[in-house]
C-alpha cells in the first residue's frame, strides 16, 4: 500500500516527481472545464478531526477535479464526538472501502498510527499534530519551483529562512526535511522558547545526513540576511497563555517580518506563508500583499499538488505522469 505520511524519509526523486506532476495539474485548473476523469470511480475520504479551511477545501477540490467521489468527515460530525476511538472511526471508514483516506489530526503521527492498523487503505497525512504536513511542504516546493524556473534558477543551493514557532510547526518540520534533501540551507529564526537549541541535536536536524545545513538564529535581521526564501509561520494566539512569549506584542516587536527589514537584508527574497495569516503579528500586510509574496500562488499550487498526490498514491504511480497518455 502506498501512503504519504511524511517527508522525513522521502527521496529527491519522489519530491521532484510530485513537483513535475503538479505542473500538469496546474494546467487542468486553468481550463474552462476543470475536470479530468483520472480517478473516476475512486472514493476519497477526508477525515479532518482538527479545524482546517484551506487544506480540507484543497483536498476536496483536488479529488473532485480528478473525478473521484470525495466525502468529508469533520470532528463535529464524526463519532469521535461520541467517544469512538480514532482507530475504530478509521476502521469503520475503511470498511466502506475508500481508495484513500486523508487524515488531519492534532496527534503527532496519527497518520502513521492509521497506516499501521489499516492494511487496505492508502493514508495521506493532511497534518498530524506537531509532526509533519507533507502536502504543505510539497506545495511550497512546487510554488518555489515555478518561481525559480521563471527566474532561471534551480531549486537547490538556496538559502531558506523559516521564522516563528518552529517548536509547534508541522509545516516547518516537513519543509526542513525536504529542503535539506535538496541541498538548501535552512535558518530557523525565533526565540529559544519556540526554536529550542536541541532542534540541532543529532536526533533531530543535527543528524549527520543533514550535513549541517540547518542553523538557528535568534536575531531576525541576522537570520534573514541574504535569504532567497523567507517562510513565515503562523503565530498561534494561545502561545502567550502558555508562556512561550511574554505577549504577542513582544513577539511582534522582535520577530514580525516587515518590508523594511526585507529590503535591507534580503532584497531579492520571496515570501511564503502557509496560512492562515495573522496580519501585523508575524508579518505585515505590506509583505503579504506585496510583490515578493507567493501566498496566493501557494494556494493555487495547493490544489494541483494535492491532485498529484491523490493520483500518485491511489494509482501507485511514482513516475512523471503524462496527462495525454492517461486520458
Amino acid at each position: 500500500m502506498k501512503h504519504l505520511l511524511g517527508l522525513e524519509h522521502s527521496t529527491r526523486d519522489e519530491i521532484f516527481s510530485y513537483i513535475e506532476n503538479t505542473k500538469t495539474f496546474v494546467e487542468v485548473s486553468t481550463r474552462e472545464l476543470k475536470k479530468v476523469p483520472s480517478l473516476r470511480g475512486k472514493t476519497i475520504i477526508n477525515l479532518f478531526l482538527e479545524p482546517s479551511t484551506r487544506t480540507r477545501a484543497s483536498f476536496e477540490i483536488a479529488g473532485k477535479r480528478l473525478s473521484a467521489d470525495v466525502i468529508n468527515v469533520g470532528s463535529s460530525d464524526s463519532s469521535t464526538q461520541k467517544g469512538e476511538t480514532l482507530l475504530d472511526t478509521a476502521r469503520t471508514l475503511q470498511a466502506m472501502t475508500p481508495d484513500a483516506l486523508v487524515i488531519r489530526h492534532k496527534e503527532s503521527r496519527a497518520a502513521h498510527f492509521l497506516a499501521k492498523w489499516l492494511k487496505n487503505t492508502a493514508i495521506i497525512n493532511g497534518g498530524d499534530g506537531m509532526n509533519e504536513h507533507p502536502t504543505q511542504a510539497l506545495l511550497d516546493l512546487a510554488t518555489l519551483n515555478s518561481y525559480f524556473e521563471e527566474a532561471h534558477r534551480s531549486l537547490t543551493g538556496l538559502k531558506i529562512a523559516i521564522v516563528g514557532d518552529i517548536l509547534h510547526s508541522r509545516v516547518a518540520r516537513s519543509n526542513v526535511w525536504a529542503h535539506t534533501l535538496l541541498g538548501n540551507q535552512v535558518t530557523l529564526i525565533g526565540p529559544e522558547s519556540l526554536v529550542p537549541d536541541q532542534l540541532l541535536g543529532k536526533n533531530c536536524f543535527g543528524a549527520p545526513r543533514l550535513n549541517g545545513l540547518v542553523k538557528i538564529e535568534r536575531s531576525l535581521k541576522a537570520g534573514l540576511k541574504d535569504a532567497d526564501v523567507v517562510m513565515v509561520l503562523r503565530m498561534q494566539l494561545e502561545r502567550q497563555s502558555e508562556f512561550f512569549v511574554p505577549s504577542l506584542q513582544e513577539y511582534t516587536d522582535n520577530f514580525c517580518v516587515s518590508e523594511d527589514i526585507l529590503k535591507e537584508v534580503a532584497p531579492r527574497c520571496v515570501v511564503l506563508h502557509p496560512g492562515p495569516v495573522n496580519r501585523g503579528l508575524e508579518i505585515t500586510s505590506q509583505v503579504v500583499d506585496g510583490p515578493r509574496s507567493l501566498v496566493e500562488r501557494q494556494v493555487n499550487f495547493g490544489v494541483a499538488l494535492r491532485m498529484a498526490v491523490l493520483f500518485n498514491v491511489i494509482t501507485h504511480r511514482e513516475q512523471h505522469f503524462s496527462l495525454g497518455a492517461s486520458l
Partner: protein, 446 residues
C-alpha cells in the same frame, strides 16, 4: 507448622552476609536455622528437601513499587493476578501503591488489601498508604491509622506531593512511625502534558516532551524539605543523570534518603518511542543513553538502593490508542530479575550488587522483613537458574494485562523456585521432595 526443609547444593548470594559461595541451608519453622558448608547436614526421614544444585539461592526478592489495581480496576490486575506474577517473577514481598479506586487513604482499603492477600499464594503484600487524601495534595491522609492497618510507607505515586507544606508536615508525622515517604518526582508545570523525554528526539517526532528538569527540580525540593525536618524520604524511579547526582550528594550530606530505579530506565532509551510503541510511554519517560549509564553507575556505587518494577498494568484499550492519550507505564514483575541478571551477565553489575538491589536494600529502605538469610531470619528465598535461556511471552505472563515491551525478548536467568516463610510456593522444575530412603520416590511438589 513446618518441620524442616533442607536446601542443598545451591550457591548462596547474600549481600547482607557478604556470602557468594556454595552453601546448604536448613530451615526450621519458617526461619533460617543453619547455613553450612555443602553436604554438612545429612537428610533424614521427615526432612523436606529442595535440590538447589546449579541454582543461586538469594534472599527473597522485594519490589518496592507495584500497582495492583484492586480495588477498582480489576480488569487490569487483581491482587491475585499481581501476586501470581510476583511469585513467577521471584518476589516474596511486593509493595502496593495506593492509587487504586478508591485510593488507599484509609484503614478500610488497607485492611481489604491485607485480607485479600492472606488468601492467595503467600506473597507478602505491603500496602503503601496515600500521603494525601485521594492523592489530591490538599488534605493529609490519616498516616498513623494507615500504619496501624499495615502500611509501611506513604506515597502519592502517580502524582507528586504538590503541596510542599503538606509534604513537610507529612514527613514530620511519618517520623513518629519511622516510615519513609516515597515521592513521585515530577513538577507538572514543567512536564506539562508531555508524553516522552524532552530533547532533540521529541522535537523531531513532534511529541510534547517532559524535560529532565521536571524531575530534578522536584528531587532537589524534596531533598531540602527532608533535610530540614530530618524526615525519611524515598525517591521513586529516578531516571536522570542529574537526579542520581542530587541523591548522591544528599546521601553524602547525611539526608535520610533512599531511592529506586526501574529496569526499563536502566536498559531502554527514549529511542524505544521511535516506532510509536505505547509500551515505551512511561512517567518518568525513558531518557538518553547517558542517563542509563549514570543510573548504572549509581547502582554500582550504592547511590541507588533498589531496583523496583513500577509494575503498572494497563488494558490494551488504554495502550492501543494515540500516543498522547495512551496510559503511562508497563508490566515489570516477571522481567525485573531477568533484566537485572542480564546486566550481571554483561558485566555491568556484580551478582552481589544485583541481589542487594533486588532484595537486601529494598528491605532496608522500607524496613521490611526479609532481605537477609542470616541465621534466625525469616526464610524468604528465591532460587534462580542463572544460565537458563527462556523468553518472556504471553503464555508465561501472569498479569491480566499485556502492556510490556519485553515480550519476545530472551533472558538468561530464570526463577526456578520461591520459598516464603520456609514453605515452597513456586517450584518450576519440581525439585522439592519429602526425603525418602528410596531414591527417586518424590512426594508431591508444591
Amino acid at each position: 507448622m513446618n518441620s524442616s526443609l533442607l536446601l542443598s547444593g545451591g550457591h548462596l548470594v547474600d549481600p547482607s552476609l557478604g556470602v557468594d559461595e556454595k552453601r546448604d541451608l536448613l530451615i526450621e519453622d519458617g526461619l533460617v536455622r543453619e547455613i553450612t558448608q555443602p553436604g554438612a547436614i545429612k537428610a533424614h526421614r521427615g526432612v523436606e528437601l529442595f535440590d538447589a544444585s546449579g541454582l543461586l539461592v538469594t534472599p527473597g526478592l522485594i519490589d518496592l513499587h507495584v500497582h495492583l489495581r484492586e480495588p477498582g480496576e480489576e480488569w487490569k490486575e487483581t491482587i491475585r493476578s499481581g501476586c501470581d506474577a510476583a511469585l513467577a517473577g521471584g518476589y516474596t514481598t511486593i509493595c502496593a501503591m495506593p492509587n487504586t479506586k478508591p485510593v488507599n487513604d484509609n484503614q478500610n482499603v488497607t485492611r481489604f488489601i491485607m485480607e485479600r492477600t492472606a488468601q492467595i499464594n503467600g506473597v507478602r503484600v505491603v500496602p503503601i498508604g496515600a500521603v494525601s487524601k485521594a492523592l489530591q495534595g490538599k488534605e493529609m491522609a490519616p498516616l498513623s491509622e494507615l500504619y496501624l492497618a499495615g502500611c509501611r510507607a506513604f506515597s502519592d505515586d502517580g502524582e507528586p506531593v504538590w503541596h510542599s507544606g503538606l509534604l513537610r508536615r507529612a514527613l514530620e508525622w511519618a517520623k513518629l512511625l519511622d516510615v519513609p515517604i516515597a515521592c513521585h518526582e515530577e513538577d507538572k508545570h514543567l512536564s506539562c502534558a508531555g508524553c516522552m523525554n524532552e530533547g532533540d528526539l521529541s522535537l523531531r517526532l513532534g511529541l510534547k516532551g517532559m524535560p529532565a528538569v521536571a524531575e530534578e527540580a522536584m528531587i532537589a525540593r524534596d531533598i531540602e524539605i527532608a533535610r530540614s525536618v530530618k524526615g525519611k524520604i524515598h525517591i521513586c524511579h529516578v531516571s536522570t543523570a542529574r537526579g542520581v547526582e542530587l541523591i548522591r550528594r544528599a546521601k553524602n550530606d547525611g539526608v535520610l534518603i533512599t531511592c529506586e530505579v526501574t529496569p526499563h530506565h536502566l536498559v531502554l532509551t527514549e529511542e524505544a518511542v521511535l516506532n510509536y510503541d505505547t509500551n515505551a510511554k512511561m512517567s518518568p519517560p525513558l531518557r538518553k543513553l547517558e542517563d542509563c549509564e549514570a543510573l548504572l553507575a549509581g547502582l554500582s556505587d550504592g547511590t541507588i538502593d533498589a531496583i523496583a518494577s513500577d509494575h503498572a498494568p494497563h488494558h490494551l484499550d488504554n495502550k492501543q490508542i494515540e500516543f498522547s492519550k495512551a496510559s503511562f507505564g508497563i508490566l515489570g514483575l516477571q522481567t525485573n530479575m531477568p533484566i537485572t541478571f542480564d546486566l550481571v551477565a554483561r558485566g555491568k553489575l556484580s551478582r552481589q550488587q544485583a541481589v542487594a538491589a533486588l532484595s537486601t536494600m529494598p528491605a532496608k529502605s522500607f524496613k521490611l522483613e526479609g532481605g537477609s538469610l542470616a541465621r534466625g531470619k525469616v526464610a524468604d528465598i528465591t532460587l534462580i537458574d542463572p544460565k537458563r535461556r527462556w523468553s518472556f511471552n504471553q503464555e508465561i505472563n501472569r498479569s491480566l494485562s499485556l502492556n510490556s515491551p519485553f515480550f519476545g525478548r530472551e533472558y538468561s536467568a530464570q526463577v526456578l523456585g520461591v520459598i516464603i516463610s520456609g514453605s515452597v510456593k513456586y517450584d518450576l522444575d519440581r525439585r522439592y521432595a519429602l526425603f525418602s530412603d528410596k531414591k527417586g520416590e518424590d512426594a508431591g511438589a508444591a
